[in-house]
């Protein structure tokens, strides 16, 4: 029971920030996703260091199960079966090349900007 009570504040805080972010994004008519606004607010709060440790247990629970929350979206992939089959090879090539370029560029830019190795 205590374990459940420990996670409730953090889950409620993250849910509230997500909802507030959505309302703000809709109200302002901006393209930034609402939950990202909520994340920015939570990050700012965390970085301010003003006693928000009580939220960690709930946040950690949500992060631990985040993979399960993605599953419903992935299962919807079946609707694109034909499109994916027709373009499988070039799509895989683009995905691999772009991933390697991104990694190389990130490490290279870090060196270029004088990051210590």
């Amino acid at each position: 029971m205590q374990a459940v009570l420990n996670v409730v504040p953090g889950v409620l805080l993250c849910s509230g920030l997500g909802l507030a972010g959505n309302m703000l994004a809709d109200g302002l008519g901006i393209g930034l996703p609402g939950p990202v606004i909520g994340l920015l607010a939570y990050a700012a709060w965390l970085f301010s260091g003003r006693g928000i440790g009580w939220s960690f247990a709930g946040a950690a629970l949500l992060v631990r199960w985040i993979g399960a929350m993605i599953v419903p979206a992935l299962v919807g992939l079946g609707a694109y079966g034909q499109l994916l089959t027709a373009a499988a090879l070039p799509l895989l090539l683009v995905l691999v090349a772009s991933t390697l370029i991104t990694a190389f560029a990130t490490a290279g830019l870090y060196r270029l900007a004088g990051g210590q190795l």
Binding site: Y42, F56, L95, L100, L117
Partner: protein, 235 residues
Amino acid sequence: MAGWLESLLATLAILAGFAMARRLSARLGHPPWASPVLLTALGAAAVLTLAGLPLARFEAATMPLRWLLAPALVALASVTFGKSGRTSAAAGIAANRGAALFAVTGGTVIGIGSAIGLARAVGLDATLVAALSTKTVTTPFAVAIMARVGGPVALAAALAVLTGVVGTLLVPPLLDRLRITDDIARGLALGVSAHIVATDWLTRRNPDSGGVAALAFVLAGIIASLLVPLLWGRL
């Protein structure tokens, strides 16, 4: 069956499936290809096919999980923090803050640009080009961005997961070959290019570098959330 009961059963089934997939992945030694997310999705798709259940019914029943994705994305801000409440990556990055921010910003922009550019160059369908625009961010960000701009959510989610798996398999050998051995540079490169899958993999081998990767994939997600909606009409 009542709607709420079907939702409860579907949600519990996905959570149980995910817990089992995580256990299987751990038993196999956490290889990137045995991603618990992929294993659970494949299992759920197989059950739907065998039972002949329509996708729309499954989507309606799993609405609670979709709803929870927003608070979970908010909670990702906490992954850059240690248990002490201080950033786990801060100690390593403090002296190189400017260079790290420059690298993550540039890497994310190049990641988005290269995916779109290469996809167009090989003549991929416009839907695939759009879905590839978020491949360089972790799946919850990709889903949030696509939901916001009205893009192909399932396709973008799948490509983001696949990028994480492919990147975790291929990027470390690339960095070894280029003799990039520094913890910060490796953490930044893996965090931006292969996000949460690589961060999980890296954290098991080198917690310091994993902390840097966590910070990198969250920052990359924020940058892409700002950038992709601006590019959306031009993709």
